[in-house]
Symmetry: none
Subunit: 197 residues, 4 copies
């Protein structure tokens, strides 16, 4: 078995266990078993469990960015571009529910807290995640200049745009609602309504 395979098996096992049972339900022994390797093998691929957790998070952020980038056309109208991104991220979340759950677990955990602190202190090289934010940031900046979106601080624009998306994705994944393409588009448009001037 190639080296990358086992690394991938471990990441996948971690994704599944953490997404379904939380960090609490993902001890090293369980991760290893789920991946079909011995416990000690984890440490050939990751310095520690913490590193495994964080690297998986980075990996997932990378995947999302890649997904969002595809089909994004910088020369379209702002509204269209926003809808493309909002619909794209929502669809990504609901078709990759394990990843969504993992990311949510991560954000509300000591790992996520440390991650935010590192970001604040600039302890990380520009990652894919940052680039993803940059697309939005650029979009919002452009919208502000053209006076098509509300004159609010950047973080609040993120909150208005992302807050409902995340919340909707969670409700779908938990089974409280069942989204279809029409609903997804309506949600995205409602988000735009909250942003546009």
């Amino acid at each position: 078995m190639a080296r990358d395979d086992k690394r991938e098996l471990l990441l996948q096992a971690t994704l599944e266990l953490v997404a379904t049972h939380g960090f609490h339900g993902a001890p090293c022994a369980a991760i290893a078993e789920q991946a079909g390797v011995a416990a000690g093998t984890i440490y050939r691929y990751f310095e520690s469990k913490d590193v495994l957790i964080v690297e998986l998070y980075a990996e997932l952020e990378g995947r999302i960015t890649t997904a969002l980038m595809s089909g994004y056309k910088a020369n379209q109208p702002i509204r269209d571009r926003f809808l493309h991104l909002a619909i794209g991220i929502l669809k990504y979340f609901i078709t990759h529910s394990l990843e969504f759950k993992y990311i949510e677990q991560f954000h509300n955990s000591p790992y996520g807290t440390a991650h935010r602190r590192d970001n604040l202190l600039g302890n990380t090289e520009s990652s894919d995640a940052v680039r993803k934010c940059d697309i939005y940031k650029q979009l919002f900046t452009e919208g502000l200049e053209l006076q098509v979106i509300k004159n609010l601080p950047m973080p609040l624009l993120f909150d208005l745009a992302f807050g409902p998306i995340v919340s909707v994705a969670r409700n779908h994944i938990l089974g409280f609602i069942r989204l279809d393409d029409a609903l997804i588009e309506q949600i995205a448009e409602a988000c735009w309504d909250s942003l546009k001037r």
Copy 2:
């Protein structure tokens, strides 16, 4: 010391420790110390740590509902009532940051998952939380009938309304932005924009 005092001390200690250090940083011994009681005493007031965690959550939901109820006038226009609630909940969160952090920790944890499962299965008697939801539900139902808010499933209306609020509160509490009354009102109005037809 009256019986309820110690119970209250334990709840408060749990709130503080979980909010600031996460569940990970709130072992029973630390909770007891923070409350100024012995570790064993926890079990005279709560069946288990899990029960303590869940009861605190219920208690906090109750407090929020009480706060939102005050000043709520059912005979005002829908938009005004919505803004009252949105502004109220946002202000409550940022002035009770420990409670907000606790609730966020709770939602993303095995406790929160179980809690949601119980709600789905109807394993809980109608709680304050349910009553709080009822206010919104009633408001949204009325808005749907009057055709002033978008024709979307109820859970999605919740997401559009609450999603940004929670996200904004988090950013404020984490220090990424600093809200003032004007901003709070703008946020609430933006949420209304996403709801209204």
Copy 3:
């Protein structure tokens, strides 16, 4: 059972296991079992296994100092005082072979290395061990002034005095020789011969 009893049981168990099987043969589980307590109990009395190891060493040094002090008369001739100390320490070692073995294990271990480093850096408050050294130091200083012992740097005087004592004690304890009072006295006198001018 009084608090100090269990602490004492743990120290004694550690002494026995380390002396007879080395640090390698004294895992926490074995120490706890030997002491008749659960493994977790160790951590109610000692911050970590390392601390247990180091505190036991300090305790043993204290006992030796106490033993040597008894009967020591500062107004006797230097030679008599030296013989008193040399005989005393040798007798102590061979009647407390576990303690002797433990101390030897300790010195040749990461613990002992760190301990020496701390002493060099002055990271420790003056301990009993230091006071014990002080008796010798004072004795040697006096001997140097009176020109009855060889004019050598202080550490070398220690080596000449202690080196054989430790070596003899080891051979006795390992069973290569069997000391009696007459031999002990001869050894002490031989050490004096190497010191005296």
Copy 4:
């Protein structure tokens, strides 16, 4: 690369790692890395890590004996021969500090204990170490017959002669003193003083 080269590299790597970091700091992986070979290769040259450790010890004893033999003249006076050996071994130790440290580590370890037990039980063929002892033994025997050294059991004579040497070497290597040729000679003479009648 010739077979013996890798064996030698492994022995040297073990010497360096154990001397500087103790057995605790010399896992097989580190030894292999230091030697520039793969971990599994160790087992083509040594049955187990334990065997590697013990064979290195035997090797080092052999080197010391060889060094001491050189220039030793059996027809010199006893005192001169003793001084030659004492000075020789002390100089060897302080110019081969890694070897000295390794030997000290070895003596105070499960390996050393087992080694001594084997010696007692006669489980080993006569090794270089034994031959080294023989020189001393012969020297002491002769001294006893001529009544120039104290009438003490053989092991005690070893202790009086070697005890200070080892102790002095340790203090030099640890940096507590700095020996020069004059001091070394004084030390050797002091040792003789403790032996001579």
